[in-house]
């Protein structure tokens, strides 16, 4: 008996470095990194004198603007996301139950659509300024008005649609934190506000940082907003270098540089955490203390929650709706419904795939903690920070190579041409989506897993459940909320995704985002509005479901 058990242990120890989990993680990382690696490999390809030109002229601007944009979005998403999450989690005030789920709505808004609508509202020729001039008899130069097409404007647009990442993750963290810790802090002399700053906030730090990183990755990858607002960032620079200078190599090198910046940021954050653990040290859950807010405080709380919701969702959706009312009868036809069906199908498939892959990856990192799996996960989730078009090129090139190599081999050896097996198929598109959105699903799954103490794994193992059985019987049910979050986020992001779809799609395959883009690109915003609004509406339902699911996910909730 004893010798058998010893044997088993020894075998496990010997194989630990290179077993199924590690291999799975490495395989996923390899596949997911492939497009990014194609991009990064461009560093070693000479790109002519493009760099000396970029360095002499615009590179500094790209750097400075991108950093400003990132700093602004980080600050804005942090302030909005964390404060609203704390308010709806820890306080009661009229309307809280509705605001609790409504606050995630901006997530369903494509950032580019928000940018279009705000430009229409706040531009010189827009609704507000036109009204001001008419009302006060001003004309050009008589008054100052903030320029929406600027870096602060872009920060505002991106912050307004991206804060829900921080909000959702922070709220989940606040919901699951121990009341005991907050109470201890109170008895140690910290008032509610200081308790929030000294305990609530730092405890939620990994979740908040994850949310901000997601927002920043999307900011870096954004092309629609910065392009529309004429802000020169790395992202616009990449396309300018590619389309304008006709230098794809230099463009991908810019993207690789961007990746480096992102990597650095992540490393700095990990360093800052030091040895602190965020597993809960307590297992007691009491209903969260609901600070009942009344009077001015209640109004303040309502305002704090409603303003981002109004600006990030109601106003742009409202404007889109007024346009859509005028144009929908002309726009809604068979093509519209086909595009809708395509969008929903592709988004659902991408969501399931991305979550499944993330689950395996996150579980591998947990089962076999170590440098190998850590690096595998970091590499596998890089795709999010790369503009979609660049990832798409990174998919297209190796897939085309694969197809043509197989085809040549088959022609030579079998006399049959296999043509393009993967290029221009849905499979290639889905692969690209997974690469791009794995960061989102992985982070959601991982933060869910981190809340399940390793003792549960051990308990399951001791009860005879193997790692796969533990995954199926323990983690999956406990993770349901996180998995759902992951799936919905990927679904919504895929609904909004544009450049990769555009580049990789099969023949005669339209999505709502493509239609929106084409019409908006032709400056037919009113016609585009029906499609844009449909993206929002199709994304809305799962977002609402998600929000309800998170509210139910508090441990011990009956």
């Amino acid at each position: 008996m004893t010798s058998l058990a010893d044997n088993g242990l020894r075998i496990e120890r010997r194989r630990a470095r290179f077993d199924g989990w590690t291999i799975a993680a490495l395989l996923i990382a390899a596949l997911a990194t492939l497009p990014v690696a194609v991009v990064a490999a461009s560093i070693f390809v000479p790109s002519g004198d493009a760099w000396s030109h970029l360095a002499a002229t615009v590179l500094f601007d790209y750097f400075a603007n991108t950093l400003w944009l990132m700093a602004g979005v980080a600050l804005l998403t942090f302030v909005i996301g964390v404060s609203t999450a704390w308010l709806v989690t820890m306080c009661t005030f009229p309307g809280r139950r509705i605001l609790e789920w409504a606050l995630v709505l901006p997530l369903a808004m494509p950032a580019y659509a928000v940018a279009y609508t705000y430009a229409e509202i706040l531009d010189y020729a827009g609704i507000v300024q036109t009204w001001l001039r008419a009302a006060f008899g001003w004309s050009h130069g008589d008054y100052w008005f903030p320029e929406v097409r600027s870096i602060p404007g872009a920060v505002l647009m991106l912050g307004l649609v991206l804060y829900p990442y921080v909000y959702m993750l922070a709220r989940a963290a606040f919901l699951s934190q121990s009341v005991c810790l907050l109470e201890i802090s109170r008895t140690l002399g910290s008032g509610p506000w200081r308790t929030f700053l000294r305990v609530g906030l730092p405890m939620a730090r990994p979740a908040i940082v994850t949310g901000i990183v997601l927002a920043l990755m999307e900011t870096i990858g954004d092309y629609g907003v910065v392009q529309h607002f004429s802000v020169s960032t790395f992202s616009t620079g990449i396309f300018r270098t590619w389309y304008g200078l006709g230098n794809l190599t230099a463009a991908t090198q810019l993207a690789a540089l961007l990746l480096g910046v992102m990597f650095l940021l992540l490393a700095v954050e990990r360093l800052g955490r030091g040895g602190a653990a965020y597993h809960h040290t307590t297992t007691r859950y009491r209903p969260l203390p609901a600070f009942a807010l009344r009077g001015a405080k209640a109004w303040g709380a309502i305002a704090a929650c409603i303003v981002p919701l109004l600006l990030g969702f109601a106003v742009p959706a409202g404007l889109l709706a007024t346009w859509a009312v005028q144009t929908a009868p002309r726009i809604v036809d068979g093509g519209f419904w086909r595009a809708s069906l395509n969008s929903v199908t592709v988004a659902a498939l991408a969501a399931v795939l991305a979550v499944a892959v993330a689950l395996v990856l996150a579980f591998a990192a947990r089962m076999r903690p170590g440098a190998t799996t850590t690096w595998a996960t970091r590499l596998a989730t890089l795709g999010y920070a790369v503009p979609g078009a660049v990832v798409a090129v990174g998919v297209m090139i190796p897939f085309g190579w694969f197809d043509n190599t197989v085809d040549s081999w088959m022609r030579d050896h079998v006399g049959v041409s296999t043509g393009l097996l993967l290029s221009g198929t849905l499979a290639a598109m889905l692969f690209c989506y997974v690469v791009r959105f794995l960061a989102i699903s992985f982070n959601a799954v991982e933060s869910g897993l981190s809340r399940i103490t390793p003792n549960m794994d051990r308990a399951a193992r001791s009860l005879g459940a193997g790692p796969w059985a533990a995954l199926r019987r323990i983690h999956t049910p406990l993770l349901r909320g996180s998995l759902l979050t992951a799936a919905v986020l990927v679904f919504v992001d895929t609904m909004k995704e544009l450049p990769a779809t555009l580049i990789l799609r099969p023949f005669n395959f339209d999505t709502l985002a493509i239609r929106t883009y084409e019409l908006a690109g032709d400056e037919r915003l009113a016609d585009a509005s029906t499609y844009a609004l449909s993206i929002v509406l199709f994304g809305l339902l799962p977002v609402i479901l998600l929000s309800a699911a998170i509210a139910r996910s508090r441990p011990g909730h009956q």
């Binding site: 109470e183 201890i184 008032g191 405890m203 040290t281 307590t282 007691r284």
Partner: protein, 357 residues
């Protein structure tokens, strides 16, 4: 009196009275245990003292100052109370030193004070570690040091030692409380463990269904329980249903005086196992012996009536009794461990089943 004073505290949740007119005082340097089964309201009482809950009525004074009641409510951070939870609730994102320094005001000797406290709990060498690296006992000591750091007037301990194994529990419990006594801190400790309360408390208040049933020094409670509930909380007890006849109660192994109870009253005679002594005239059948180490519990059966008893014999006497399993033994009663209580709300006819556990 300074320290903690609770006067007529009540608190309801959703119509249920969790705390019902509780009066309680803890003097500086005194350790009072709130003892009771789970759901008796002891934790709510503690939370009201801490300011984590507000009382519906009544008054809370700490250090002579009214902190709750009469329209006043001082939030927990201004009450100068320390709190230690069962699971210690150490801040996982802070080092041990930072945990202890958490409640100390910013200043040049903040770290020094925290370090001094860690030295007092013998954890100076773990200052830079994060809590998850510490053992349970070490975590408990950090939690105590953290609560002590701001020199609270009142220390509130919520089952503070129940997470520890029992050997550690004794030692750490005594060390902790001597630290608190030395600091002159009034200490209110909630527990459901009567042995712990007995050993550590200066006074014990037993709670049941939101009320303090009895309070006093540990031995007073043990020797003069106010009712069956208190009596059976401190040890196993033989309960024998009977009726008062001629001013006495017949337990089947001896008569007990039924002081103050009229003849014909249905009563329960509570007999502690150690109050049944081997050697005596009362006959009983020994059916089993459960050795407990220092002593043994002997299961007895009344030769005629359907009553069973537990008798406690010291280790030295065990072999002798063990030899008699299945045979008759003679026993006697020590009245100091026997109590008679009127059985509440029980119809006399109900007492058909006589017997103990």
């Amino acid at each position: 009196m300074l320290g903690l004073e609770l006067a007529g505290i009540s608190r309801s949740f959703a119509g249920t009275r969790a705390v019902d007119h509780v009066d309680l005082a803890v003097a500086p340097g005194e350790v009072v245990c709130l003892l009771g089964p789970s759901g008796c309201g002891k934790t709510t009482t503690l939370r009201i003292a801490a300011g984590l809950e507000a009382a519906d009525s009544g008054q809370v004074r700490i250090g002579g100052r009214v902190v709750d009641g009469g329209g006043a409510f001082v939030p927990p951070e201004h009450r100068r109370v320390g709190l230690v939870f069962q699971d210690y609730a150490l801040f996982p994102h802070l080092t041990v030193l930072d945990n202890v320094a958490f409640g100390l005001p910013a200043g040049p000797d903040r770290a020094g004070k925290a370090r001094a406290l860690l030295t007092r709990v013998n954890l100076a060498d773990r200052a830079a570690d994060h809590p998850h690296k510490l053992s349970g006992g070490e975590q408990q000591r950090v939690a105590l040091a953290r609560a002590l750091a701001p020199a609270p007037l009142l220390m509130l301990l919520d089952e503070p030692f129940s997470g520890l194994n029992f050997r550690l529990r004794d030692r750490i419990g005594e060390e902790s409380l001597s630290l608190l006594r030395a600091a002159g801190t009034a200490t209110l400790m909630v527990t459901h463990d009567s042995d712990e309360a007995m050993r550590l408390a200066d006074r014990i208040a037993v709670m049941r269904a939101g009320r303090v049933v009895q309070s006093g020094r540990p031995l007073d409670l043990y020797d003069r329980p106010a009712d069956l509930f208190v009596a059976e909380f401190f040890s196993e007890i033989n309960k024998i249903r009977a009726v008062v006849e001629n001013g006495v109660v017949d337990t089947g192994i001896g008569l007990l005086p039924a002081t103050g109870l009229a003849n014909g009253t249905s009563v329960i005679a509570a007999v502690r196992p150690e109050a049944i002594r081997p050697g005596g005239s009362a006959p009983a059948l020994a059916t089993a012996v459960h050795p407990m180490g220092a002593y043994a519990l002997v299961k007895l059966k009344h030769p005629v009536r359907d009553i069973t008893y537990l008798m406690r014999v010291e280790h030295g006497a065990t072999p002798e009794v063990s030899a008699k399993v299945g045979a008759r033994v003679g026993v006697s009663l020590d009245p100091r461990g026997c109590f008679v209580f009127a059985s509440e709300g029980d119809a006399p006819g109900h007492a058909a089943v006589m017997g103990s556990r």
